[in-house]
């Protein structure tokens, strides 16, 4: 079968399921008693197993299969979760992730899972790391997964009493068997002609879907003697072995004892009446392959998507890109049409253009939203990471996520993960102190790392704030001098913030002992260069003793923004409207000079005055020739500044275009460009670079 076309679907869905598994495992760790969560985890694992088996990723399938066995016990309350099981399951998730990653990278998805499989099997067998709560197995070496419920138990009991023969049969299919399900069906066929299957493991549906390894087992009631049956079963081709164990009253009783006695008595009485009519009905349950199949197929799918799953489709990001490009071309034409309509002054033309403008504004909203993804999709892997980190460092750390719903362009989302991982690791490793140190400093034992995302102006900010010991600035300086990052003379002149920024210098690490978590010294400068390449910026604030805050500023790339267009001599510039506080006029005489800086009174405060003409080195406009100039008040955070311009053109929706790679990395006041209605390129001024 041609699998390639399903590969991307497999990868996407596997990632979704792995993410769901991780999240739910973390939730379960908080509330280990909640069987509802176990059900959800079980369904995810089950779906993942089915998908991997279908795609032929054996190792993935076998590992999920074993996980499922453990979870099955948990969800049937035969096993209660403990630290050992959690750790093992988390390790399994890591292994699964590694294998899926291998598949994504074009590998075969193979991984060494034997060790984990053994550990899971041990858990199923009852070795749960000390505090065992699993029921001990019955006589024979029955797999715990094949535990009978009271109802099936009573059927067996009554059949034996009535003189029927009961068997526990284990069938092994040959290794090279191609149609396992078909062979299994033939086995069931033989069995059903001779008696009744009480219980099978895996379930009949799973066997039909080939969701079993090489063997399956059944509890079986018959009147045919064992040898005859064995003979008939062995004749089915490609069957390696058939093991039959007779189940007698004694072994049944032992099994019953194993399953807690309290509810047992009542149940036996209850089911005794039901048992008789139930036996004739039993054959309906197993193998009716054709009819059952669709139902069985849809069940896991429906279950995995959950009740209130959003209805979504997956779209290739390139299609969205081309949609965006086409739309931005149309937007340029729209602006052009609006200009023409205002020149031609014909009512019906103006009305049509106006209507088109309204429709395209709606369309624009939709197109833009298509590309936006909540940062949640990056953030949701961090709780797990922080948990593991804190555990391995023997610290207590709470991760608080704020603003996970903040939306960011997909391309930025894809790139921002690694830098964030690094910064969070850094905060947990270097920021938050050990428990003893925290108590000594009069803080709570548990450190807090806040991961915060929010929109501000034309940017999205992501902050990572810890309440740890803060940056040890003298030590940073000492190291920086030792490593030759700064000279001792320069070091004396550095401000606190500048010292903090030394952390981002290439080849810098302050950790005394280099741990495997962070502190390889290659980290933070890589973070900085990555964020810079995304058109963003990273800063750090730190208060000794009370914590450190890393702040990442990211652009909302590839989007359409509302902007104020202004003229400066022969040139046109655009300012993002989001950063403009006010527009107004300013008399030359109102500008005062303080310490060599030009300032102006603005609403009871004094703000700096900046000449755009000087900033962009305008070839044909100088504002000191004017007695009164137009002024834009812009804002970055809580800082304001007045920008002197020549003339306002007006507000417009503009399409952000990159300046071209050749000029990227170019440090300037210009953040991008846009194409105006007349086809000319206007540059977009980045207010964030103006206000330092």
């Amino acid at each position: 079968m041609e699998m390639n076309q399903y590969m991307s679907m497999f990868i996407d869905e596997s990632n979704d399921h792995l993410q769901a598994l991780n999240e739910n495992m973390l939730r379960l760790e908080q509330t280990p008693e909640d069987i509802g969560i176990v059900q959800v985890i079980f369904r995810s694992a089950h779906t993942l197993k089915g998908m991997s088996a279908t795609m032929g990723f054996e190792d993935l399938a076998s590992l999920t299969h074993e996980m499922e066995n453990v979870l099955d016990l948990v969800r049937n309350e035969k096993l209660s979760m403990n630290g050992h099981i959690f750790d093992t399951l988390f390790k399994c998730l890591d292994a699964l992730e590694a294998m899926v990653q291998d598949v994504i990278n074009g590998g075969t998805g193979k991984g060494d899972v034997d060790d984990l499989v053994q550990r899971l099997k041990a858990i199923v067998k009852g070795d749960v790391g000390g505090d065992a709560s699993i029921s001990s197995d019955a006589d024979q070496d029955l797999p715990a997964s094949l535990i009978l419920d009271q109802y099936q138990m009573s059927i067996l009991g009554q059949s034996i009493e009535a003189g029927h023969l009961a068997y526990y049969i284990e069938v092994k299919v040959r290794d090279d068997c191609l149609l396992k399900a078909a062979r299994a069906y033939m086995v069931f066929d033989v069995l059903e002609r001779n008696g009744e299957v009480v219980k099978s493991y895996p379930s009949v549906q799973e066997i039909e879907q080939e969701q079993f390894d090489r063997s399956f087992s059944v509890y079986y009631i018959t009147q045919t003697p064992g040898e005859t049956l064995q003979d008939q079963l062995s004749r089915v081709s490609e069957i390696e072995s058939v093991t039959m164990n007779a189940v007698d009253k004694a072994s049944l009783e032992e099994m019953e004892k194993a399953r807690g006695a309290s509810d047992q008595k009542a149940a036996v009485k209850e089911t005794a009446a039901a048992a008789a009519p139930a036996i004739p009905n039993a054959p309906a349950a197993p193998a009716a392959p054709a009819a059952d199949k669709p139902a069985a197929r849809t069940a896991p799918a429906a279950a995995s998507s959950g009740g209130a799953a959003p209805r979504t489709i997956r779209v290739d990001i390139e299609r969205l890109d081309s949609l965006m490009n086409l739309f931005s071309e149309m937007l340029i034409d729209r602006v052009r049409l609006e200009q023409l309509a205002s020149e031609i002054r014909r009512n019906d033309l103006s009305e049509t253009v106006e209507h088109m403008a309204r429709v395209s504004a709606d369309l624009q909203n939709i197109v833009l939203k298509l590309r936006m993804v909540p940062v949640e999709s990056v953030f949701n892997r961090f709780p797990r990471m922080v948990r593991d980190l804190a555990k391995s460092l023997d610290k207590k750390v709470d991760l608080v996520i704020v603003g996970a719903e903040t939306e960011l362009d997909r391309t930025v989302i894809d790139e921002i993960g690694d830098p964030l991982v690094h910064l969070i690791r850094n905060s947990v490793d270097h920021g938050v102190e050990s428990i003893a140190d925290r108590v000594g400093a009069g803080k709570s034992e548990t450190g807090t790392v806040v991961l915060r995302a929010f929109h501000s102006g034309n940017h999205v900010f992501i902050e990572i704030e810890d309440d740890g010991k803060g940056i040890n600035r003298p030590k940073v300086l000492e190291t920086a001098i030792k490593r030759g990052v700064v000279t001792p003379e320069d070091a004396k002149k550095l401000s606190d913030d500048e010292i903090n920024m030394l952390l981002f210098a290439p080849g810098f690490s302050t950790a005394d002992v280099v741990s495997d978590i962070s502190g390889r010294g290659v980290g933070l400068d890589v973070v900085k260069s990555k964020i810079t390449s995304l058109g963003g910026n990273v800063t750090v604030q730190s208060e000794p003793g009370s914590g450190t805050k890393f702040s990442i500023q990211l652009p909302l790339t590839l989007s359409i923004i509302a902007a104020m267009l202004i003229k400066l001599g022969s040139e046109k510039y655009a300012f993002p409207l989001s950063s403009i506080v006010e527009t107004g006029a300013l008399k030359r005489t109102d500008i005062r000079t303080l310490h060599g800086n030009r300032m102006v009174d603005y609403r009871q405060s004094i703000i700096p005055v900046i000449s755009l003409a000087e900033l962009v080195e305008s070839p044909d406009y100088r504002d000191d020739e004017e007695t009164e100039t137009e002024m834009l008040v812009i804002r970055k955070g809580d800082k304001l500044a007045a920008i002197l311009v020549d003339e306002f053109i007006g507000q417009s929706e503009i399409v952000l275009k990159p300046l071209g790679k050749y000029l990227s990395g170019h440090r300037s006041v210009v953040s991008g460009a846009t194409i105006l209605g007349d086809g000319q390129v206007a540059l977009i001024v980045d207010p964030n670079t103006i206000i330092k």
Binding site: E329, I332, K657, K661, L663, H666, R667, V669, V681, L683
Partner: protein, 153 residues
Amino acid sequence: MAEEMKVIVFTLAHEEYGIEVDKVRTIERMVPITRVPKTPAFVKGVINLRGVVIPVIDLRGRFGLVESEYTENSRIIIVAANDLEVGFIVDSANDVIDVMSDAIENPPEVVGGIKAKYISGVAKISESRLLILLHLAEVLNRSEIIQLEQFGD
């Protein structure tokens, strides 16, 4: 075996230069250029090429030749290489010719005042006609721009 190579021919200060045809996207007449502040002098700014903003550099300036007024014949050659798209302003561009690979010789140290590192070879078209083939990767090398910018700071 000599291979044939198609080359776009353009002129710069009375010399003939060539760029392989598969590196050239289009050749445009002069259009209004928007100046980008704080860039090296040879970066003339950006143009709108059918909805895409593309940086334009003056090839004379890039090679340290004297820049001249643009004329009717001036052209912008849009090249794509190293993942970059850049427009080159040249004096004129009007020919596509075939060059045999065995007619290409290694560049001498200095050709027409241009440093050898920008040149991948010199093709002899006829007895009296030489064509200087550009080494695009070097011409588009941004490290020099970055140095220039830092110098400007």
